[in-house]
Symmetry: C2
Amino acid sequence: MPRPLLILVLLVTHVAHAGDPAVQAAREWRKTQGTSILEEFVEYLALPNVAADLPAIEKNAAYMAVELEKRGVQVEIWQHEAVTPVVYGRLDAPGATRTLGFYLHYDGQPVDPTQWSSSPWTPTLYDGSIEDGARRISFPAANESIDSDWRIYARSAGDDKAPFTAILAALDALQHAGVTRTSNLVFFFEGEEEAGSVHLGDYMRQHRKQLKVDGWLIMDGPVHQSRRPQLVFGVRGYTGMDITVYGATRYLHSGHYGNWAPNPAQMLAQLLASMKNSNGDILVSGYFDSVNPLGDPEREALGRLPDTDADLRRELGLQQTEGSGASLAERLLLPSLNIRGMESARVGSAARNIIPVRAEASLDMRLVAGNNPSDMMALVEAHIREQGFHIVRVEPNNATRLKHPKIAKVIRQHGYPAARTPLDSEFARQVISATRRVTGEELVILPAAGGSLPLYLFNDILKAPVIMVPIANHDDNQHAPDENLRLANLWYGIDLLAGLFTMQE
Amino acid sequence: MPRPLLILVLLVTHVAHAGDPAVQAAREWRKTQGTSILEEFVEYLALPNVAADLPAIEKNAAYMAVELEKRGVQVEIWQHEAVTPVVYGRLDAPGATRTLGFYLHYDGQPVDPTQWSSSPWTPTLYDGSIEDGARRISFPAANESIDSDWRIYARSAGDDKAPFTAILAALDALQHAGVTRTSNLVFFFEGEEEAGSVHLGDYMRQHRKQLKVDGWLIMDGPVHQSRRPQLVFGVRGYTGMDITVYGATRYLHSGHYGNWAPNPAQMLAQLLASMKNSNGDILVSGYFDSVNPLGDPEREALGRLPDTDADLRRELGLQQTEGSGASLAERLLLPSLNIRGMESARVGSAARNIIPVRAEASLDMRLVAGNNPSDMMALVEAHIREQGFHIVRVEPNNATRLKHPKIAKVIRQHGYPAARTPLDSEFARQVISATRRVTGEELVILPAAGGSLPLYLFNDILKAPVIMVPIANHDDNQHAPDENLRLANLWYGIDLLAGLFTMQE
């Protein structure tokens, strides 16, 4: 009977700081009310929520408004014309001087139902992970015991509806136990994150005053792959460029012109090779100059991260990694320069004996705190010029071609900067401390994630720090078929929110 | 009236050595019999001749046999089972001690009739080049004057049926004028050159004795782009390889793993960049060691070639060329190493933010006299190993990946060596001299062409030297829609063959 044993382990883990009244209240509540919490979650997950389906999205917003109002939250639905609405809520605490903002998104990725084991918007319970051979089971009746290793399968179960249900349950738990919140709460729930958050900045600019808080908690993404709870204090920014290098104006026979007419694939290879040494170190001059150096707390946090590099290397078939043995976590705190695609004529059986007319590469650049997207692109362009290329923005005409030996068309992509909240800031200190009340030493503190999100908007427009407080399991198949949430992660979310709602100054 | 003027120019050019009885006989013949020569050419061109269409090919062979037999040639049709036949002919000359072999191919490239101005196997006459706005005209009646700037449009008009019609006309002309041939003639006409000459070697091996000649004249390809007649004394050999470089076993998110997990596009760029310097000089160790040095006559011939490089550069939009300013003709006398295709993931709007799992390049190598294909590939592989790559021949498994930091799968293509006949050899001297009787100083002597043909088979199996004696116009659209032959080039072919049939020892 392995399952009861697992529950036991989780209980031991989570019991660490159970002496705290808020955390105790949350645990008591989900133990006695687990079945109805699941019922609420299922009701919410059953609402289709692809951002492009505006009527469906509006039903989600209306549902959320009703549920928040039941808990005494003052709710507004903001909706710019023909755009997915924002669900805004405010719940003050008597005498509180601090206001915390909670962000989540209630839209989900589009689905291909044929790829799913059950219908994406018919939440379905399994006694574990489908990939591990779990069986479908019935939802428990009231007072039946609930195994926290069970999983609910539905679109957005992990990304990003679980935090909403956890917020409701945490409010209920504190209310029921009579535990007082220590902060005013602002809720800011977006409906088009999976469609690119196109209007997020507009909503922020128009509602600056209502969104004025002391710090934002971004409830999105998964916890650490070791299953340990995780706080993430930054994300990388993003930019990129498409580079096209030119040969002759028409395909040339490689026998009749080979090694006389310049080969653009060769020129592009030389250009790309010049950008890094054989260790993968970026050679673009000044590329690291604007990086905000890490503080001691960040260095210390890095040293305490679980070391999963060797496992990852084995899993990915990598005998070595870039960066002279630096850890993955260290590498993610530096700006990157990555060839995401490269193409010139055709390869394999489609190849012909020609000199290609052009060679293209697409680069993406992940930016860290301190890096400005257009400055970073300018550095790469300066490097391209140093390699003897004349940079153009449109296809070169014959006059341009005859004037310059090497021509690169560079098309910049849109970009945005990184966001990072220093670990020794007041807000970070408070959030870490509140989370530890729930997790103890289990907590993984990540100075910044490798991926990119436009969290800089919270810094730039709303002038407040951001910290990501994920609750979903790392193997929740987010964006993919069979998305799911492990119940242990929903329970953790409730505990965590109870802790955050009562966090000390 | 520009057209008569043009005829005049051509007559002046070709009259240079009209004192020679054979050349005089050819000119007289085509002047009086031009209409019937065209009729014969049209009849032959009207026969569809794609190698894959065996019944059609057999009709071509039968037609050729009948026409040759009319001229007293002893003809055999060789046909291995279900393979395109070879038309073989022999015509001895009384007392001759030398035997000349004439090779041509009677099959043509497949067609897309929708791309043609007229049906590919309905020979059609135009008063010039269609690209220059020429008009379609009727074929001339007997005794009507014929403009040598007219063009016949049909598949294989230039590549490679014109030489056959020229051979027939030259035999007729000499016969009519009572001029004696000085060599025995062997005709060896192939029906699957455009399909890769797959059985050419087999036919040679099986008929070595009948194919024993003192030298082969390869009647294929175009004359110089200046329109000057041309002899070509060699072709390059060919080989190549496909290289695949590996990253992780699955696509990785460029934010979560970028600049930690090695990028195969970056590794491939570095490998390819290492093969050449920025001038395009090949850096593979030993790549030029086996090249047979050029003799003085070859150097002299190079110096006398028309210089078309500047025009070509302008036409192709090239501000500079590889090889530190060396001429195209010089570069074609060296082995080449060309990236004919390169690919890793996707570019442009199809690009995604990933680290690619693999990067591929396809290389072709043109070989010159002295280069052995597998030795040359071994040199490139040694270079790849020097860059730290472990070479595999199949997809690497995980154990292999975990053992080697850099892995390249190298798949060698088939290859064959170059063929070159020294300009100071007896055969070369005789052919140059015979051709000059027709062309005078107009003759362009090319030590070797840049393209590749398996002419080494004539050297290796038949143990005889080869010289290419092209007659078609350079702008004959060979392999393409609207293939054509300029009549001046058919006339030149008849003159040339009359000269070769009567060439001095």
